[in-house]
Amino acid sequence: MTENHLTGPANPRAHLTSPALHATLRIQNKLLAAARDHLAEAGFTEIHPPVIGPVTDPCSRGSKQVDVDYYGHRYKLMTSAILYKQASLLAFDKIYCIAPNVRLEPLETADTSRHLAEFHQLDVEWAGASKEQAVQLAEDLVAQMVRRAVAELPQEFEVLGRDVGMFAGLVKGVFPRITHAEAVERLHALGHGQSPDAELDWDGEALLSAQSDRPFFVTDYPKGSRGFTDRESPTAPGMLRNFDLIASDGFGELCSGSERTFEYAEAVTRMRETGENPRKYSWYLDLMREGIPASAGFGLGVERFTRYVAGLDAVWQANAFPKLPGVVSP
């Protein structure tokens, strides 16, 4: 427990020298090592996506992208690797990367304990995969990451006072799946006014998360709640072939994934539906015109996942140099 978990570390030295941070980062290290092993075994190649580019993932709830002056052209810091992940499938059928993302989140997120303006994501993409296959891969991966950390780092969990018994359900690797419509229904039953057309709001997500003893998937979000990269169901228009993985015990969303929009005309139409200007996505759309593989994949927030596994009060405690939204920090 940290006294100032809502406001970030008191100073960099105190944070960097704290035994809790050391234990946390060792757990994080182990989680990622386990992920690399698991994915390599499943035939995935690790790639290194760009840090800047002419465009980046547009849809991140209310957050702002960071502009970079690239020889007089407006470039962006990556908010996620999604566009490059899809393009990379022209090289390999199964890829993943662990990369930093920068999102200037709304200031109201500074005290949610769940948002960082700069964070890392374990991003996976799989050519030809369905939503169901991606969900299965995420489930296996998460269970394996936690199994390894729990088995190999008992001391670190002890330093943090984290009872690993709470992962008894998780390590079995069977996570419940509910649709977005069912989640909305449950929230309404709990008296929470969740919009059926929108992403689960943070309070709603926390409510569902607090009721579960293991992570669970929410699938099939409505169009209008996500960006154009999430593919619309060909059989159920208005519904997306996507999913979130939500942690138990109120830790909230860990991972988002979907089948991807990969056909040119569909991508342009969806860009318009999400208020985007296709003109700025020219490199990406040019690739699509000639064809890119259908795929599914997901991104797992490294700090959020570490926070959950380590049982931390706030996500910043899982980052050596945390940047809380709006807080000036190194």
């Binding site: 849809c59 709830r61 209310g62 957050s63 702002k64 992208q65 007089g72 052209h73 407006r74 200037l104 989140e105 709304p106 200031l107 109201e108 919009s195 057309d197 929108a198 992403e199 709001d201 409505p222 169009k223 209008g224 709640s225 139409t269 318009r272 539906e273 999400t274 208020g275 985007e276 200007n277 003109r279 700025k280 939204p325 709006g326």
Partner: protein
């Protein structure tokens, strides 16, 4: 500055305030200022407000007050697109019109705030004048106007509406405002809205257009259409943006999803399928839908468009026999007659574009405030003459159009 617009009358109102609803006393008998029934500019001008002789509501008001009611008993305060306003009036977007930039934009923001009416900040302000955080001159920027408004508005009144159109999405204007510390007081008090600009009355079916020096346009070619029409100056043409019913519906839903604490406004041009577009916007959850009649607009437009393209405001209103809960209209609104006719025909509030700009230019300190006092007085006179004491009680029977059988 505003050819074809009653600039003199607007400026007079900005100087004299409420007394300007009457002819000037000193010119009485010499100058027939506004007393001649001149050629009506459009159908809305040609319509007349028609008070009944028998007034049940006036009796109810008389009983309520215990005295004869007067125009001063008309209550004009109303809710506009999620905001509480002292008048059924808002200040429309003035785009990147150079005339609206700099100190004038700030003066306008301060005065709209002081009166407690919502203000729309036009698309293109960020691409043209910058946001004002790390770049350029803060007074010309969006940030400058937001700050000026927030500092002068009373508790619980008014609100700021930030517009974005297709190319502005590249500049992420909404995301910028939503995550900016300056906007936080407005956001926290529920007084920030985002307006999706589908189009504007002055050039239905076209996007925004500005004239730039050729040198300044050189860096914009990969973002905008550039047409070298004027020698050393070029036309920078934004795309109009492609909309289908599904695109409009989903864009509104995404706005609600991404900016849950901001209100959602939608601005439509006077297209022939207006009623369908209004319906889609309302069903998707827009808090307000603005219809900009063909008479509207401060912007740069090819001359044939204002003259021959788009539905006049009166026709727009006629095509919305069951108006949505918060219909806002604009289009050459500058005095109480057009305003009250619009309200009677279903609008919740009217937008002032050129009139607000001219009034502010006439006196950057108090011009708009006095102009709004004048407009409010005129509206009270008209509403009370119709035997009503709130604009919401007006209806289509209060308006007569030439050729009406009634």
């Amino acid at each position: 500055m505003a050819p074809g617009f009653p600039e003199k009358q607007v400026r007079r109102r900005a100087r004299r305030g409420a007394s300007a609803v009457f002819p000037p006393a000193d010119g009485y008998g010499r100058v027939l200022f506004g007393a001649e029934p001149g050629e009506p500019h459009d159908l809305l001008d040609a319509m007349r407000l028609v008070p009944p002789v028998f007034m049940e509501r006036r009796l109810a008001k008389l009983i309520d007050l215990g005295r004869e009611p007067t125009y001063q008993d008309v209550e004009l305060a109303t809710d506009i697109g999620g905001f509480h306003a002292t008048l059924p009036v808002y200040v429309s977007a003035l785009g990147s019109t150079r005339a609206a930039g700099g100190d004038l934009g700030l003066a306008l923001s301060r005065q709209a705030a002081a009166v407690g009416v919502p203000m729309v900040i036009g698309e293109n302000i960020v691409p043209v004048n910058g946001y004002g955080r790390l770049d350029g001159d803060a007074s010309r920027s969006l940030l400058g106007r937001l700050t000026a408004y927030a500092e002068h508005v009373g508790d619980g009144l008014g609100g700021v509406v930030v517009q974005q159109s297709t190319e502005d999405a590249d500049a992420e204007v909404w995301n910028l405002v939503y995550s900016d510390p300056t906007a936080r007081p407005l956001l926290d008090s529920g007084r920030l809205a985002f307006e999706l600009k589908v189009g504007q009355g002055a050039k239905p079916g076209l996007g925004g257009m500005t004239v730039l020096d050729a040198a300044a346009a050189a860096g914009l070619e990969d973002q905008f259409g550039i047409d070298p029409l004027f020698g050393d100056r070029v036309l920078r043409a934004s795309s109009p943006g492609t909309f289908t019913a599904e695109i409009l519906r989903q864009q509104i839903r995404l706005m609600r999803n991404n900016f849950p604490r901001a209100r959602v406004w939608v601005k439509l041009y006077p297209g022939r399928d207006l009623a369908a577009a209004v319906r889609v916007a309302v069903e998707a959850g827009a808090d307000a839908v603005t219809v900009d009649g063909a008479e509207g607009g401060t912007g740069w437009a090819p001359t044939v468009f204002p003259a021959q393209v788009g539905l006049p405001l009166a026709e727009c209103l006629r095509r919305l026999p069951e108006p949505p809960p918060c219909l806002l209209v604009s289009g050459r609104i500058w005095e109480g007659g057009r305003a009250v006719k619009s309200l009677a025909l279903g609008a919740r509030a009217v937008g002032l574009g050129r009139a607000a700009l001219l009034a502010t230019a006439e006196d950057p300190h108090d011009g708009l405030i006095r102009f709004l006092e004048c407009l409010a007085t005129e509206m009270r006179l008209l509403v009370s003459a119709l035997g009503q004491y709130t604009p919401g009680a007006l209806g289509p029977d209060d308006v007569w159009a030439p050729g009406d059988g009634r």
